[in-house]
């Protein structure tokens, strides 16, 4: 009877599974004290990727660049096993310094504490700057202002601005932080990326952090604004209202064209106002931009020729094509040459 043999097979499997199950039981109870160590960092995340594999983790901002590079690379070299994920710069470094990943995407330079972590685990790396992310600050097309200073933005978006529903509400604070205090009387609605976004973090770090530190404030923005992970939603909301306020990655603002007004930015009140363009972002004269990096594990590169090929490919296709495709600003020629020589001189 066929049915009988089917069930006999099932029971054989049940036996195995039950044995596994009870194993799991004992090791779990043994390990409960170690759980705190492994739970958050997924330090035990071994992975079985063998020699020729390439695993990239890290910043979700840089992820689209690496995804494009990996995609194009795989078209040529389908035999190489490649995977890209984007849990965040911090999580990425945690894995990278534990030796679990080959390349770590980062939307900021590695922190000292993270570098120490790497050193403690004997992970040596090379830092490669691959592109620049500019942030455009914007409003509806009919907004009369043309230039905003860091002080203006602080008085509109810092935690101290919580509750401001009119641009002019911010004037008192604006004067305190070194602005001119002449923001217009118009309703203020803010749409911007939320805390889960790299653009949010960069905005705080570049525009707000120094003043927040000075004034003993928590390093964050005001909470009461509409956040969206979708850049098109942000652009839509901002463009529909001439006294709105928001910020997005530069490429999205450029694409939106005349439907929004992109502000020129001056770091100091009364300083030179600079509009974001690929040129001003690339030469760092536009103040709200950040560098994007990849970090490559040196030992893994030495042991894995596929990884070397991959990074070589990144230095060419990645810097020249993928960065722009992913809507970031490519490096200028000098910076590009610098990155390439950093990789070759590893």
């Amino acid at each position: 009877m066929k049915l009988r043999s089917f069930f006999t097979l099932l029971f054989a499997l049940a036996l195995v599974a039950a044995a596994c199950g009870s194993d799991a039981d004992t090791s779990a109870s043994d390990g409960s004290t170690d759980e705190s160590a492994s739970a958050d960092g997924s330090a035990a995340d071994g992975g079985s990727s063998g020699g020729g594999d390439i695993f990239i983790s890290g910043s979700s901002t840089v992820e689209p660049i690496s995804v494009r590079v990996a995609d194009a690379f795989t078209a040529d070299r389908p035999e190489v096993n490649t995977a890209v994920e984007g849990p965040g710069t911090g999580d990425g470094f945690q894995k990278f310094c534990a030796g679990e990943t080959d390349i770590s995407d980062a939307s900021r330079a590695i922190k000292e504490s993270e570098a120490e972590d790497c050193a403690a685990n004997g992970v040596e790396f090379v830092e490669l700057k691959v592109g620049i992310d500019g942030i455009a600050v914007m409003s509806g097309p009919g907004n009369p202002l043309s230039c905003l200073s860091f002080a203006d933005m602080y008085s509109l978006t810092s935690p101290e601005a919580e509750g401001f529903e009119n641009w002019s509400d911010a004037n008192e604070l604006n004067l305190e932080v070194g602005g001119s205090g002449d923001l217009p009387d118009a309703p203020l609605t803010i749409t911007a990326p939320g805390e889960e976004s790299g653009t949010f973090a960069s905005f705080i770090e570049i525009v707000l952090e120094d003043t927040l530190d000075e004034r003993g404030q928590e390093i964050t923005t005001r909470f009461d604004y509409q956040s969206s992970p979708n850049d098109n939603v942000i652009i839509n909301n901002v463009s529909s209202d001439d006294s709105s306020f928001g910020w997005v990655g530069y490429a999205f603002a450029e694409e939106a064209g005349d439907s929004i007004k992109v502000f020129e930015i001056s770091e100091e009140e009364g300083g030179e106002c600079i509009a974001p363009t690929p040129a001003t972002i690339a030469d760092n004269s536009y103040p709200i931009s950040r560098d994007l990096f990849i970090y490559v594990n040196k030992a893994k590169a030495a042991a894995n020729p596929d990884l070397v090929d991959f990074v070589d490919f990144y230095m060419d296709y990645g810097l020249k094509t993928a960065v722009a495709d992913a809507k970031y600003v490519p490096l200028d020629d000098a910076a590009m040459a610098e990155t390439v020589s950093a990789w070759e001189g590893r």
Binding site: M1, L3, R4, F7, T8, L10, F11, L13, A14, L15, A17, A18, G21, A24, S27, A28, D30, G31, S32, D34, E35, S38, A39, S42, A44, D45, G46, G47, S48, S49, F55, E63, P64, S66, V67, R68, A70, D71, T74, P78, E79, V80, N81, T82, A83, V84, E85, G86, P229, N230, D231, N232, V233, D325, A326
Partner: protein, 317 residues
């Protein structure tokens, strides 16, 4: 003593026949209509849902269905495909089948055939019913803490892998498998058991030769439905962690080592695409992936329903 019949409500022997004839029951008809209408809404929703999904997916289905099914995750919406998601979901289903079915069927046999009427047995029963009601996202926590990061276990599963995801989903469907198997076993006529014991068979011999074959269609129905459920579950996989960015396709379909590797799965690909800003991903590709997933799930469901109907008809006849 004569019995006096008092006319009630103007009834007399002369007109009683007339009053027994019913007026048309308008209220009743209306009620029936409302019930039927509500039922039609539910069915209408299903139709609208399928229509919306298929029409959103049409640009993909009509132009590049083959490439879409065999293609890999890619940054361009016009080129992205779901083969890796299909492969991941296939492995998840296989692992669920290997782990949850034997365990679930064995547990159900114990509870129905062996379990003494003790506190422990009834505790196990209650526990299983409660497990069936635990939200799927909570199983994701189990998967994350035990199968992905658990001390010692992570080395076995390879971290965020089909094995970890499959074990998580197996835990998720286990209570359902146990409960449906119990129901199937309970439906076995006790005469069958007694006849078996009567000719000197041991308990296990009765179970394997009489009870299981008789209950098999019911058990299979339940297991097919659980596989369909496992294939469509996204929440636990979000916590276990699947790749939705990029993963190359090099290991073949039947290279078993990939159960310990990074993987993609249909429901999480759909989730990630449905949340993308770009329309090609958010609408067209997500809908096309849904069409494929729903086709698979409906296929399993229909198989289960057909199987059940056939055997019900056989038994009845």
């Amino acid at each position: 003593m004569a019995i006096a019949i008092k006319p009630v409500g103007g009834l007399t022997p002369a007109n009683i026949g007339e009053s027994l004839r019913r007026k048309p029951d308008l209220k009743g008809a209306l009620f029936q209509f409302v019930m039927l209408f509500s039922l039609s809404i539910s069915i209408g929703v299903l139709v609208v849902l399928l229509y919306t999904v298929v029409s959103d997916a049409w640009p993909v289905l009509s132009t590049r269905l083959g490439d879409f099914v065999t293609g890999t995750l890619a940054p361009d919406a016009g080129r992205a495909g779901i083969s890796q998601g299909l492969k991941g979901t296939f492995y998840l289903c296989v692992i669920v089948a290997i782990v949850a079915f034997p365990l679930g069927i064995a547990a159900a046999i114990y509870l129905e055939e062996y379990a003494p009427r003790t506190r422990l047995s009834s505790f196990i029963e209650v526990n299983i019913r409660n497990l069936a009601g635990v939200p799927s996202v909570v199983y994701g926590i189990l998967g994350l803490a035990i199968f992905v990061n658990g001390w010692g276990i992570s080395a076995l599963t390879g971290g965020r892998s089909p094995l970890a995801g499959g074990l998580t989903l197996a835990a998720l469907v286990l209570p359902v498998v146990i409960i449906t198997t119990q129901e199937a076993i309970r439906a076995v006529p006790s005469a069958l058991r007694e006849a078996g014991f009567g000719v000197g068979a041991t308990k296990w011999e009765v179970i394997k030769d009489h009870i299981l074959p008789y209950a098999a269609p019911g058990i299979l129905t339940g297991t097919l439905l659980s596989i369909a459920r496992a294939a469509g579950e996204a929440a636990p996989l979000l916590l276990v962690g699947t790749i939705t960015g990029f993963i190359s396709n090099s290991p073949g379909w039947f290279d078993v080592r990939q159960v310990q590797d990074k993987f993609a799965a249909m429901p999480t690909i759909i989730t990630s695409w449905a949340k993308q800003p770009e329309e090609g991903f958010r609408v067209e590709n997500a809908a096309a992936a849904i069409v494929v997933l729903v086709a698979f799930v409906i296929l399993l469901n229909s198989a289960a329903i057909l199987l059940r109907n056939r055997f019900e008809a056989k038994r009845a006849g």
